[in-house]
């Protein structure tokens, strides 16, 4: 199948630093117009992979193309065709909005005849029309995020890399921001998001979980919750809580038991089988159960489940 519809293709990509293998043969494809999430804890190989895809670091072996350019052979072309929005706010706080836009237009070599129209477009998209002369440092957080995004796409790159773009931002602003990303995706701009913030991952069309340099799960958020979780999640409300969690940790069929607020979360192999068994188990220990039901795992549950298995299998 031709690579034409893929914004990013990665084949057996490896990066070694001396003896340490930071990225260990990863494969993935990101389609044009997709919002793709790259999830993993710090040190898992996320940043190294991103740097390679941005043409900032040379791979040890394997191949990757971004916007149809090979990252090893043509890193300069790659860099000119991507936008990058970093986690730490990288705009100049003492410049006005319009000045930041002009600065980045210059940095990305936006041709002078399209300058005005591109800046207009960025202002429009970021909902900052009329605010051009405000000093960037005085803008509320959400506006700054939008401005940063605007600056990252002035040169209308086919693909943008976003590094934890909305951590700490309030949910409403976050939703507006992601609406923006989806809007751009509709216009054909691909978004490659890195994060270890599970709430952000839900906004992505597809996700790849990276752990210790390898991709341990790949799919839509729903697919991951359905397929990648070993076992099923139960919510148990009972009293006394402390005694219950201790007893349950050694109960058969229970893979993990942890306190969660005023209740317990249990990971069991089969919910249908476990529920009646456990009710009996707890009753036998004088623990009253007020609720026990299967619940959908969150992406965090999935993540912990996968990484714990990976640990065990090593």
């Amino acid at each position: 199948m031709p690579d034409v519809s893929n914004a990013v293709t990665v084949e057996s990509l490896v990066k070694r630093f001396g003896d340490f293998v930071a990225v260990d043969k990863i494969n993935l494809e990101v389609r044009k117009g997709e919002v793709f999430g790259f999830l993993g804890p710090n040190g898992a190989g996320k940043s190294t992979t991103i740097r390679m895809l941005c043409g900032l670091l040379k791979p040890t072996s394997g191949r990757a193309t971004v916007a149809e350019f090979d990252v090893s052979k043509n890193p300069e072309a790659v860099r000119q065709n991507i936008g990058y929005m970093s986690q730490k706010f990288s705009l100049y706080n003492d410049l006005k909005v319009i000045e930041n836009l002009r600065l980045f237009a210059g940095l990305y070599s936006v041709p002078s005849k399209s300058l005005t129209s591109r800046i207009e477009w960025a202002l429009q998209m970021a909902n900052l029309k009329g605010q051009e002369n405000l000093i960037t440092g005085t803008l509320p957080g959400g506006w700054k995020q939008r401005l940063a995004l605007g600056c990252a796409v002035l040169h209308k790159p086919p693909i943008i890399f976003l590094d934890e773009p909305t951590s700490g931002v309030d949910p409403i602003t976050r939703r507006q921001f992601w609406d923006l990303i989806h809007q751009m995706a509709e216009e054909g701009i691909t978004a490659f998001v890195t994060t270890h913030y599970m709430e952000e991952a839900e906004y992505c069309n597809r996700l790849a979980l990276i752990f210790r340099g390898r991709i341990v799960a790949l799919g839509t958020p729903s697919e991951l919750k359905r397929n990648s979780m070993s076992g099923e999640l139960l919510l148990v409300e009972c009293a006394p809580l402390g005694a219950a969690v201790e007893a349950l940790q050694s109960a058969s069929g229970v893979m993990d038991a942890a306190v969660f607020g005023n209740a317990l979360h249990l990971v069991v192999r089969d919910a249908a089988v476990a529920v009646p068994q456990l009710e009996k188990f707890l009753a036998g220990r004088n623990i009253t159960v007020s609720r026990m039901e299967k619940i959908r795992p969150s992406l965090e549950d999935v993540f912990v489940s996968i990484t714990t298995n990976e640990e065990v299998s090593k």
Binding site: S167, D170, I172, D179, M198, E202, T220, P221, V304
Partner: protein, 315 residues
């Protein structure tokens, strides 16, 4: 719960302003002994300012705050013997070893050497950090630094612990470890007030106060908050989420529609009523979808709903 409902922290009408900004606006809540209380809200909501005032390191403009029995405005130093504060930014010394940091804080709280040695061994074991005693704090990973912070905070057996976004940037597995330690602590009768910008973390607290722009929006257990929301939340998984959203966004009964990566998340007035309505509508428009499910509202749904509606309730 059978714990006594004594209050370890009582806040009434607490306020603090900075030039041009009302950081904390007439805040009132209480934290009980043996409870994990979450102060939840995005950056700029006033969480850090509140914690700093309770820790006695920032004066308030108005209102009262009582921590471990001491009025913090009148006697900021009094409470410090019984409390621990972990600021948002790593507050320990990167050029000192794990052991040296622990010793320093133990001395500051007057913990004797024998007790200190016993307790630090215990705590480091629990945190899985025993082999890192001699390592410089600056060389620890993010998750380990937070755990070290917690060890230093617990060395003198405080009655109240104030944590400012302790799990920001920490990976999910370390986060779980961290929470496990917190749950063990409250079982021993400690009161914990923690702030977080991760709304999903609010679910792990016994009670939660949602803050927005210095004000308190809600204060109750997560379960009650969701039950009292009075709205239903639907999740529609579909191959083309955008089409689904566009089709349904003006439908009757909808409070908000959110596009997620692989579906649509809708807040409606009456789930039972709207599900068949939407199913019919989508079928009629020829838009395929997996299923329309009623899901439990998340704290984020609550938050967004409240802020958009401009509603603030006290529990």
């Amino acid at each position: 719960m059978t714990e006594q409902s004594q209050s370890a922290i009582v806040v009434e009408g607490l306020a603090k302003s900075f030039p041009g900004v009302r950081a904390v606006d007439a805040l009132s809540f209480d934290v009980r002994v043996g409870e994990i209380f979450g102060l939840v809200g995005p950056d700029g909501a006033g969480k850090t300012t509140t914690l700093r005032m309770l820790a006695g390191i920032m004066p308030s403009d108005a209102g009262t705050a009582t921590v471990a029995g001491f009025n913090v405005a009148l006697d900021p130093e009094g409470a410090k013997h019984s409390l621990s504060y972990m600021p948002q930014r790593f507050g320990l010394y990167e050029d000192l070893t794990v052991e040296e940091n622990i010793r320093f804080y133990a001395d500051l709280f007057g913990v004797r050497a024998t007790e200190r040695n016993l307790r630090s061994t215990q705590l480091l074991d629990a945190a899985g950090m025993s082999e890192f005693r001699m390592r410089l704090a600056g060389k620890l990973s993010g998750g380990m630094k937070q755990k070290l912070g917690l060890v230093c905070a617990l060395i003198h057996r405080p009655k109240v612990i104030l944590l400012d976004e302790p799990t920001t940037g920490v990976d999910p597995v370390s986060r779980r470890d961290f929470w496990r330690i917190l749950y063990e602590l409250v079982a021993e009768g400690v009161a914990i007030l923690t702030s977080t910008a991760y709304l999903d973390e609010a679910e792990r607290c016994h009670r939660v106060a949602l803050m927005h722009q210095g004000k308190l929006l809600f204060c109750d257990t997560p379960v009650n908050l969701k039950a009292n929301m009075g709205k239903g939340v639907l999740s529609i998984i579909a191959a083309e989420p955008r089409r689904v959203r566009n089709e349904l966004k003006d439908a009757e009964g909808i409070s908000s529609v959110l596009l997620t990566g692989d579906g649509v998340h809708i807040v409606v007035d009456d789930a039972a009523r709207r599900i068949p309505e939407f199913e019919a509508r989508l079928k009629h428009a020829g838009i395929s979808f997996d299923a329309i499910l009623k899901v439990a509202p998340s704290i984020e749904d609550l938050f967004v709903d409240a802020v958009s509606a401009g509603v603030a309730t006290h529990a």
